[in-house]
């Protein structure tokens, strides 16, 4: 393991992070705080001009919900530093997964609620009323202020989302990924709300509800997608890349390494993603039926752990035959 001579070593459980990941974690925390500061300003601004627009209300609720992923990331980043203890031998990494589920369920519930609320408004044909406000002695239509607020709050999240997306990849952090993904799509909410309000101005009262339904649909979509990802991660789905796009390539590398050792004939692993780090169980069939020495086993284990910082817990089990009941499917790497 690489030791840095910085003042304090950053850990995920008992894993010391390599300098690149330490730096990414530091940056991620910084940008999550920036996100929270931005959200505080934007929710206050949008609340001030909320008026009677359903689309603005939906956009505001989405802003409020956007607090959850950064908060859960920052909280989880604290909890997972704890080393494994007697009571928690696997460490505290699942804190990330739990934070993810909580945030995802909140999104789903609010999205569904807003869709119903907006649909009721649309069906009962309740015309949204937006009057004037006093702007230095002039009475100006409040809708202009709403559109301005939406245009102002549309830009920053795109930039924040891009920055955080890169960090999420380095840290293998799915909460950060989900957060970045939502930020990147956030401008659509703002644009939809602005279009809805502009529609009200043209006398198209329904434009507001249409925009609101679009926005709440996107909240619901985010919620369902995140809930699905978070729940299956907690159910020990096999380790995937940070964006859940493909099985994590590390699995293949581990198996290839173990299979390549002179004393093994066959090797396969199952890997669960604990949040940032992986717990690996590798089954190896020794060559010619002879048991490997303790030294060989220990060397192999340490080589695997050194391969990637994400390999935290590693167990090598010598077996006479690969246990197919533990290793369904043709290969660990999930090659298709």
């Amino acid at each position: 393991m690489i030791r840095t001579n910085s003042t304090q070593t950053v850990r995920f459980g008992h894993t010391e992070l390599p300098p690149e990941q330490q730096e990414a974690l530091r940056k991620a925390r910084k940008y999550e705080w920036i996100t929270i500061a931005f959200l505080a300003a934007s929710t206050a601004l949008v609340y001030a001009v909320l008026g009677n627009s359903q689309a603005m209300k939906a956009a505001w609720v989405e802003d409020l919900l956007s607090f959850l992923p950064p908060l859960s990331f920052l909280l989880a980043a604290r909890v997972i530093r704890k080393r494994p203890s007697e009571d928690h031998p696997y460490g505290y990494h699942r804190a990330v997964g739990i934070a993810h589920v909580v945030a995802a369920v909140a999104l789903t519930v609010m999205g569904a609620y807003l869709i119903v609320d907006s649909a009721i408004g649309l069906l009962s044909a309740e015309h949204p009323t937006i009057g004037g406000f006093n702007f230095f002695g002039q009475t100006i239509w409040l809708g202009w202020l709403m559109i301005t607020a939406m245009v102002l709050t549309a830009g920053p999240p795109i930039w924040l989302g891009r920055v955080k997306m890169k960090l999420a990849e380095k840290l293998h952090d799915k909460v950060l990924y989900a957060d970045a993904d939502m930020n990147k799509a956030d401008w659509m909410t703002a644009a939809a709300a602005a279009v809805g309000v502009a529609g009200i101005g043209l006398g198209w009262w329904w434009a507001d509800y249409a925009a609101a339904i679009l926005i709440s649909g996107s909240i619901l979509h985010d919620g369902i997608r995140n809930t699905r990802g978070a729940v299956s991660a907690l159910m020990d789905k096999r380790a995937m890349t940070y964006d859940d796009d493909a099985p994590h390539p590390l699995a293949r590398r581990l198996d290839a390494y173990l299979r390549g050792l002179p004393w093994t004939r066959e090797a396969r692993s199952r890997i669960r993603d604990e949040g940032h780090v992986f717990h690996v169980e590798s089954f190896v069939v020794p060559a010619a039926g002879s048991m490997p020495s303790l030294e060989q086993l220990e060397q192999a284990r340490e080589a695997c752990i050194a391969m990637d910082w994400k390999v935290q817990d590693m167990v090598i089990v010598p077996v006479a035959e690969l246990p197919s009941e533990f290793l369904p499917g043709p290969t660990t790497g999930g090659e298709r």
């Binding site: 009323t129 239509w141 939809a192 279009v195 529609g199 101005g201 043209l202 198209w204």
Partner: protein, 162 residues
């Protein structure tokens, strides 16, 4: 990114439309256009100094009070005649909701429970009751008639400054 372009084009188009349009915001039901040079149908619910119905005036021909005077000035500005309807807040709010009235007055404040039935103007003046609590006074307009509402808001702000 496709959706990005479509939405922004839509927004730009809407704003362009707004720029050329004679009236922005517009009324979905065209209240302001109908009232201008026509008839302003006002519901008045008696309330202390704000709206008074002189006794013996016989029916709803005459309404007095601070708010009644304001409404009269507003109607003059629009070149409209006033058709007064008197009744309880409940009856008037219900009538407003179903398009039977253009405006309801009655010394209402911004805490009025009728905000589900009607749009509220900006609070145009404040008063204190005998218990010392503050009331920010509003009038009721039909839901979503934003051009009419904005016209009334402008008038109330100007008359408040005068």
């Amino acid at each position: 990114m496709r959706r990005c372009k479509v939405l922004f084009l839509l927004l730009a188009a809407l704003l362009a439309l707004a720029g050329c349009g004679t009236s922005y915001p517009a009324d979905p039901e065209g209240t302001l256009d109908r009232v201008r040079g026509g008839t302003l149908r006002v519901g008045a619910s008696p309330n202390r100094d704000w709206v008074r119905l002189p006794s013996g005036s016989g029916g709803a021909a005459r309404v007095e009070g601070k708010e009644a005077e304001l409404v009269q000035q507003f109607a003059e500005r629009l070149g409209a005649d006033i058709e007064w309807v008197t009744g309880t807040e409940q009856v008037l709010a219900d009538e407003l909701k179903h398009g039977g009235l253009d405006l309801v007055i009655g010394g209402l404040d911004d805490k009025t429970p009728w905000s589900t039935h009607a749009g509220l103007t900006r609070p145009y003046t404040e008063s204190r009751d005998s218990r010392g609590s503050l009331h920010r006074h509003v009038m009721l307009v039909p839901l979503g008639e934003n051009a009419f509402l904005l016209e009334l808001d402008r008038f109330l702000l100007e008359s408040g400054q005068a």
